[in-house]
Symmetry: C2
């Protein structure tokens, strides 16, 4: 339970060096090898060079259908004075792949001869080995087919078999044990029978680690959940240490009353790392028990994911003797400033977008508990220890989790949030599986700014002009008078109050927001929904200071609905779809127009054409949107403005 | 047996369109789905969007170890006038992950309070939800976790389980049947018992196709070998058609007497493609039997490999509804001119090298039977139908089979061939698994030219100056007086006559090469070995015209040995190692110096440092070279020249 401060922790580089050097001292790596059938060797790593056992072809064979001949006897042949060779004596019918008969040294393709009375007539001479595949044309006995430390591919398997080898030595996959610990954990399978009850937590880290291990060409072994009991944890470890090459203990590496990792490793073996100056992943522990590495992986899912990447994967690579799949790197421009604690290497998940040939990178949520930020991220950047962060516009190096082609095929949608965007994404994937839609929710005004700055392909917007009562167009004309753009309607949607089931605070209108016992949750400044609220408050003469929670904000409709559902607020302004998704009640306030703004220059891009086709032509998409409830698709795809 | 000419064949684009459109008309693609456990879904493709079943966390929980409090009661706390909260009444001990007790709305970390007489003292106020992970912080019920047509990753599995879902719908893997046909084929397993006998061919295409299918996220099903009997082939097809989604028949798609593919498909169903204007792969056939696609895959291994890529993989992708792994593309400069038949799209395997920041591409052997050219290639270029080829220096688009990083980490070695280079490659891989050595054999002089032109990192060379009797240095000084280079010895090696076992033609010296019954096999012009030959011939006053086979040349020592072994020649000049590898006899002629030339500018490259460390420090490498026989490693790693 002691407080741990950063300067006590060793750096990532020190930690890695310590762990890997200790391992190399104790265990001979790369790991031992095993002999397997060549045909099962896909993706395995060769433990020694593979040398051809015999040649391929291993006999001179015909490369064409035709006649085997003795080349010497063809030397005088010309168009005018063809040479006649007797079939069965000086010429023999031969098919592609057949062995050249003894005494013959060339093949003449069937289409180059004339058949006459048991003779063939030929019109030009052929050199020795004409249309013959000589022995070893493809593979010469003893030659190197593939070297050591090579990941076997399908084509290698063919060449190895062709050279007469049916078994090869490959590196043994290290066995990585995973021991999930925690009295509150339940197996996901339990959900078949019943819903979880607090404080139960679904044990999903093992499944992530297990599959990361598989991807790293190693063998996972998941043990049953162990409660937070020192003795049981010890027994589980001693058992796993016998069966595995590396053991992962998840979690219990922190400093809480029920965190036993440090104590247990310290008693059974020795701890070599206790905490590392990284974020997330700080409480990482490593040690050795009976000469086997045992790692204490923190419990937060992002920490566990990162610790796998930083420590477990490199350990596996030591066992295998090669680098497994590497992350592609990309240089990109930071769309906004990002700061970090100077005491740690911080790993920040990011979105990367390519708009107009320029790669832009945007930091995402940084909590260690936000697994979805890994799911949605395109990669990560590192803010090194000793740096306070990067300023907006800085060029940073991104380690990619998706491939670059995928990023190049991603529609960057920045602006107001609407649930139809998720539906659009799904329909896009269905018809154009190569196209991805990445949407960032920064409000309508933020979307227009992103379009103006060339950081987005499209923006969702629903800005109501108080003066004209017109949607979006006045704002576009004012903000980017010279930019050629197209404004296309997506939907009309109903905005209203999202309240708890049964509307216990009896919200009927904007005046009710000022009630003493009502806590409101707002949308961020610059969002169309906040403009809508402000417009109504102004008309009714209500001051924001009269509303509790006016200054607490969320970035999405689902965020508003979630705040209401979980009791953080009594009411918020949002769309019907969000209320329905979480089974909340909804009091309609206004119907508004939600449009999509696209710069003219992007209209011809394949990825934007795909979006337009879904919006303008896909009837199933229209139906799916209507099914959400609260949407009017009358003008879907209609162009409301272009300049 | 009819002759097929190119203009009768449909183009690749037409063929693809025809095949894929026919499929789409007949079969609803993407394929049907199946429900599987989430934890087994790695690498599978979602058949529908995955929406969160419940939120994560699904209860408000502590984000830190500390005390649960009511935030309202902390509002007056200051450093000077701490607020005291009674444990058990206004404060409760709570650990990370524990549910927030009813009536409490914030957590104060243990390190921020002082414990005193059953009370905690706090020194600053905390807002509601301080250090609390609210419900839905990570995942909000109903939100989109991953869309349809998404390849499931380890982290996705975690998020899906966290959201309460344990089974998902994924696309069914299409089952691809492979029927190997050919009376001469034998299973590789037969080699356990005995050596193959002509005309037997080892059946390795199925193993390649099987593993390519696995890589393409489909399910292979390999059937037993079927002899070239029309009836048996028919039965095999009818059986496979019942069990599979696509059937591949390999081979028999040509026009030989025993090629039944066309006939059989035509009788059981209908042929839609018979031959395509591509090279290799021309005799590709496609049709439908009982509404299932059946493809006639040509028998040459490179043709089979290419037809898989061009036709089978896209078909699988139609079934799966996504694009499987795509080839990276790269632009590179052609190192030499390449021409092609205008009637076909030709797919040429290439080597790609990155030297001095410039990517250079070199075409490889083009025969459809050369599987090793696929094994060794870095990728391929396409010479489109209607083009005669590309000139030297042209920029071409390469489709990569290796990743770019691998190519960037490849030492490009162009020059004379020596077997120690293979050994060097293996030792390099062993110690530096990320480094690859790619060697092209163009002779010593070709190597020097490549170094001069900046196309190689290093060159193997053994050029004997007739005048001074000195190796390499006079040539380097003459060819590149201004280039800063380092010349390092690899080995001394014995050159000699490679002859058949028992030396039946009784070769003793260069004079014997002029004997009436002796056929010689030469090395190409510009090779050090040829210089050596010419020097001796000149000294002895022998004219090249007196030697049968002087004008037939090979590019490697192994090529010479192979020609002698297979009877294409009686004798050639080469190194002992090559003779020994193929168990041939060897008559020593001269000991020569084999050096490695490296431009000064590349010495500090990590990949070159790795090479130098192996040559100069690895004693195991030295031993392995000596074990080859015929090598003297006395000066290995010694610098003989630098300017």
């Amino acid at each position: 339970m002691g407080k741990k401060v950063f300067h006590e922790l060793i750096s990532l580089d020190e930690a890695k060096e310590k762990l890997f050097n200790n391992l190399k001292k104790i265990i001979p790596v790369p790991t031992e090898s095993e002999t397997i059938l060549v045909k099962n060797a896909l993706g395995r790593i060769t433990a020694e060079p593979v040398l051809a056992k015999f040649s391929s072809p291993y006999f001179h064979s015909a490369a064409m259908d035709g006649y085997a001949v003795k080349s010497q006897k063809t030397f005088l042949a010309t168009e005018r004075e063809p040479v006649r060779l007797q079939i069965g004596v000086d010429a023999q019918w031969i098919e592609t792949g057949d062995p050249l008969p003894d005494g013959f040294d060339a093949v003449i393709p069937v289409e180059d001869v004339t058949l006459r009375d048991g003779f063939i007539e030929i019109y030009s001479s052929v050199p020795p080995y004409n249309d013959v595949r000589p022995i070893g044309e493809d593979i010469v006995a003893t030659e190197l087919i593939i070297p050591e430390s090579h990941v076997v591919r399908a084509v290698d398997i063919g060449a190895i078999l062709a050279s007469g080898i049916i078994e090869i030595k490959v590196r043994k996959k290290p066995i990585i044990g995973i021991i999930p610990t925690g009295s509150e954990l339940i197996q996901p399978e339990k959900l078949k029978e019943r819903m979880p009850q607090p404080p139960e937590l679904i044990e999903y880290n093992s499944a992530v680690l297990e599959n990361l291990i598989k991807e790293a060409i190693a063998e996972p072994k998941v043990y049953p959940i162990v409660p937070d009991e020192e003795k049981e944890i010890k027994n589980a470890i001693l058992n796993a240490i016998k069966e595995c090459d590396i053991v992962l203990l998840n979690a219990g590496s922190g400093y809480g009353k029920e965190d036993f990792t440090y104590k247990v490793i310290n008693e059974l073996g020795n701890v070599i790392i206790n905490g590392v100056a990284i974020k997330p992943g700080k409480p990482f522990i490593a040690g050795f028990i009976k000469n086997k590495p045992i790692l204490g992986i923190p419990g937060y899912p992002v920490s566990a994911f990162l610790c796998f990447d930083l420590f477990v994967k490199p350990l596996i690579e030591l066992f295998l003797g090669i680098s497994v799949k590497k992350e592609e790197k990309l240089k990109a421009i930071l769309s906004r400033q990002i700061s970090s604690n100077m005491g740690v290497d911080e790993f920040v998940r990011v979105k990367v977008g390519r708009v107009g040939g320029k790669y832009t990178v945007t930091p995402m949520g940084r909590g260690a508990g936000l697994l979805m930020s890994v799911v949605r991220a395109d990669g990560y950047i590192v803010i090194p220890k000793g740096s306070e962060g990067f300023s907006q516009g800085a060029e940073v190096k991104v380690n990619l989790w998706r491939n670059k082609e995928e990023i190049d095929n991603t529609v960057v949608c920045i602006g107001s949030h609407d649930n139809t965007l998720d539906v659009l994404y799904n329909f896009l994937r269905k018809s154009y599986p190569d196209v991805t839609l990445s949407s960032a929710h920064v409000g309508s005004m933020g979307g227009l700014v992103a379009i103006k700055k060339g950081e987005a392909h499209m923006a969702g917007t629903h800005l109501l002009d108080e003066v004209t009562g017109e949607y979006n167009i006045p704002f576009i004309k004012k903000l980017m008078p010279d930019k050629k753009v197209v404004l296309i309607n997506l939907v009309y949607r109903i905005q209203g109050f999202i309240v708890k089931k049964g509307n216990p605070k009896n919200i009927r209108g904007f005046n009710d927001l000022t009630n003493e016992n009502v806590v409101f949750i707002n949308r961020q400044a610059g969002s169309g929904t906040r403009l809508l609220l402000d417009k109504h408050l102004k008309e009714l003469g209500i001051s924001p200071s009269q509303i509790k929670g006016y200054d607490t904000d969320e970035y999405t409709h689902m965020g508003i609905a979630s705040a209401v559902l979980t009791g953080r607020a009594d009411v918020g302004l949002g769309i019907l779809a969000a209320a329905q998704a979480l089974d909340l009640d909804f009091i309609p306030v206004a119907k508004e127009r939600y449009d999509i703004l696209i710069p003219y220059e992007f209209l011809e891009l394949k990825i934007i054409q795909a979006v337009l086709r879904v919006i303008q032509e896909d009837k199933e998409f229209r139906k799916a949107v209507e099914k959400l409830g609260g949407y009017d698709t009358t003008d879907m795809g209609k162009i409301f403005y272009s300049n």
